[in-house]
Amino acid sequence: MAMLEVSRLSKSFGELTVLKDINFTVDKGEVVAVIGPSGSGKSTLLRCVNQLERANGGRITVCGSDMMTTNEKGKAVFADTDTLRSIRLKTGLVFQNFNLFPHMTVLRNITEAPTVVLGMSKTDARAKALELLKKMGLEAKADSYPCELSGGQQQRVSIARALALDPEILFFDEPTSALDPELTGEILKVIKELANDGMTMVIVTHEMAFAHDVADRVVFMEDGYIVDEGTPDKLFGEEASERVKQFLSRFNNFGA
C-alpha cells in the first residue's frame, strides 16, 4: 500500500524552479534514501510533503488522502484545513538542526504536541515520552534542557518528539549533517532500529554507506528531477547511470 504518492510535482521560488517533475511513491514499511548534490531540491521536496512549502503543481497523496491536486487550468488545489491538519499528523519531520524548543525540558519537548495537538492526557503523554526516551537511551535526560545535551542527544530527542505523534511516515532531512562525525553513528543506529521496527521512512542523507545499508530503495535527485532510482545494490553498483557514478565517486573515500 502506498503511504506517499507524489506525481508531477513542481515548485518554484519566483523565477527559480526548484522541483520540476517529481514522481515518487513510498510503500508502507519501505525505507527510501534520497541522495543528490546540494541544491538539487531534496529539502524542498520534503518541505512540500510536510506542508512547510506549497507546491505549484502536481499531486501529493498521503495515506490515501489528497493533500493537493492540480485542476484542469493547471492551478494547484489544496485540501481543506481539516484534511491538511489530519495529513500533517500522519507525517513527521526530523530537521538537520533539530529545532528543539530551547525553553522546554526534553520531556516537555516530547509531550507538548501530543497534549496540545492531540489532546492526550498529561499522564499518558508523559508515559509515552519516557518510553520513547528509553528507546533513544536518554531516560536520564528527561529533565534536562536541550542546551545541556550534545548534538547527537538533541537529534535523538527530536526523533522522539516526532515519534510521539505516531506518524505513519517519518521524513529525515540530513539528520546527521549538523553533527560531529563521531556522533553520527548514534543517530544512524536509531534510524536503523526504526527501520527494523517497520517504520516507513524517507531519509535525505549524504551517508552513502548508511543509505546502502538501511534503504530498500535509493532515489537520486539532481536539478529538480529524480534522475535515477532503484535498489541500493543497483544505484551503488555497476548498473547505475553515469551521473550517479560520477556523484558517488566523490564519496568513495568514505567507503561507500
Binding site: L52, N99, A113, A162, L165
Partner: protein, 234 residues
C-alpha cells in the same frame, strides 16, 4: 531647617510619590500590551498597516515626550475649535470638562502610554524577529496551529530575549514620569520644585532625587533577579 520641618517636608514628598508611582504603574499596565499589538501590526503582511504603524512609531520616538505630553493637554480644546473637525467628533468631545483633574490625568496617561508603547513595540518586534525560523517550522510540522505556535513556542522565548531591553525602558520611565510636572501635574517633581523657595533649601530636590534613585535601584535588583530566573536555558 528644624527636624520638625524636615519631617513635614519628608511626609509631603512621600505623599506626592504616590501620583508618580501611579503614572508609572498605569503607563506600564497599558503600554506593554499595546506595544505587543503595535509590534504585531508593524509585522503585518498587509503593507499599508505596517507603514501606518511605522509612521506612528517614528513620530513617537522622533519627538520629545515632553512635547507629546503638552500636545495631549491642548488636543481636545483645539480639535473642537478647528474648522475641519466633523460635527460628530465635536459633539462627542464637547462633553469633556477640560478643566477637570480627570482630563489632565487621562490625557497625560494617553501620551505616556502611546510613547512607551512605541518603544516597547520596537523591542518586542526585535525579539520576535530574532526567533529562528526553524522554531516555527518544527511547531508547524508537529501540527501546532498558528496561535499555539505563537503562545507556546515563540512568545516564551521572546520574553526572555526582551527582558534586558525592556528593563532599561522601564527604568527610564521611572525618571520620565518627572516630565508630568511641566503639564503641570502634581507629582513628586512638581512638589519638590515648589518647596525650594518655601524652605530656601535644596533638600526637597535631594529628597526627590533619592526617591527616583531608590525606585530605580529596586527595579534594577528586581530585573537582575528575573534575568537570572530566566537563565535556565540558552
Amino acid at each position: 531647617m528644624t527636624n520638625e520641618q524636615i519631617g513635614t517636608l519628608f511626609q509631603l514628598m512621600l505623599q506626592y510619590a504616590v501620583p508618580t508611582m501611579k503614572i508609572f504603574a498605569l503607563t506600564l499596565l497599558w503600554s506593554i500590551p499595546l506595544g505587543m499589538i503595535v509590534a504585531l501590526l508593524k509585522m503585518c503582511r498587509f503593507k499599508p498597516i505596517s507603514w501606518i504603524t511605522n509612521i506612528y512609531i517614528l513620530i513617537m520616538r522622533g519627538t520629545p515626550l515632553l512635547l507629546q505630553l503638552i500636545v495631549a493637554q491642548y488636543s481636545v480644546p483645539y480639535i473642537i475649535r478647528s474648522d475641519i473637525c466633523p460635527e460628530f467628533i465635536r459633539s462627542a468631545l464637547g462633553g469633556i470638562d477640560i478643566r477637570s483633574e480627570a482630563y489632565t490625568f487621562n490625557m497625560m496617561l494617553i501620551a505616556f502610554v502611546l510613547n512607551y508603547a512605541a518603544y516597547f513595540a520596537e523591542i518586542f518586534r526585535g525579539g520576535i524577529e530574532s526567533i529562528p525560523k526553524g522554531q516555527y517550522e518544527a511547531a508547524g510540522a508537529l501540527g501546532f496551529t498558528r496561535s499555539q505556535t505563537f503562545f507556546r513556542v515563540i512568545l516564551p522565548q521572546v520574553v526572555k530575549r526582551v527582558v534586558p531591553a525592556s528593563s532599561n525602558e522601564i527604568i527610564t520611565l521611572v525618571k520620565d514620569t518627572s516630565l508630568a510636572s511641566a503639564i503641570p501635574y502634581m507629582e513628586i517633581m512638581y512638589i519638590a520644585k515648589k518647596q525650594v523657595p518655601t524652605y530656601a533649601s535644596l533638600l526637597p530636590l535631594f529628597m526627590a532625587g533619592a526617591f527616583y534613585f531608590a525606585f530605580a535601584m529596586v527595579l534594577t535588583v528586581l530585573f537582575s533577579f528575573i534575568e537570572k530566573k530566566l537563565d535556565y536555558y540558552r
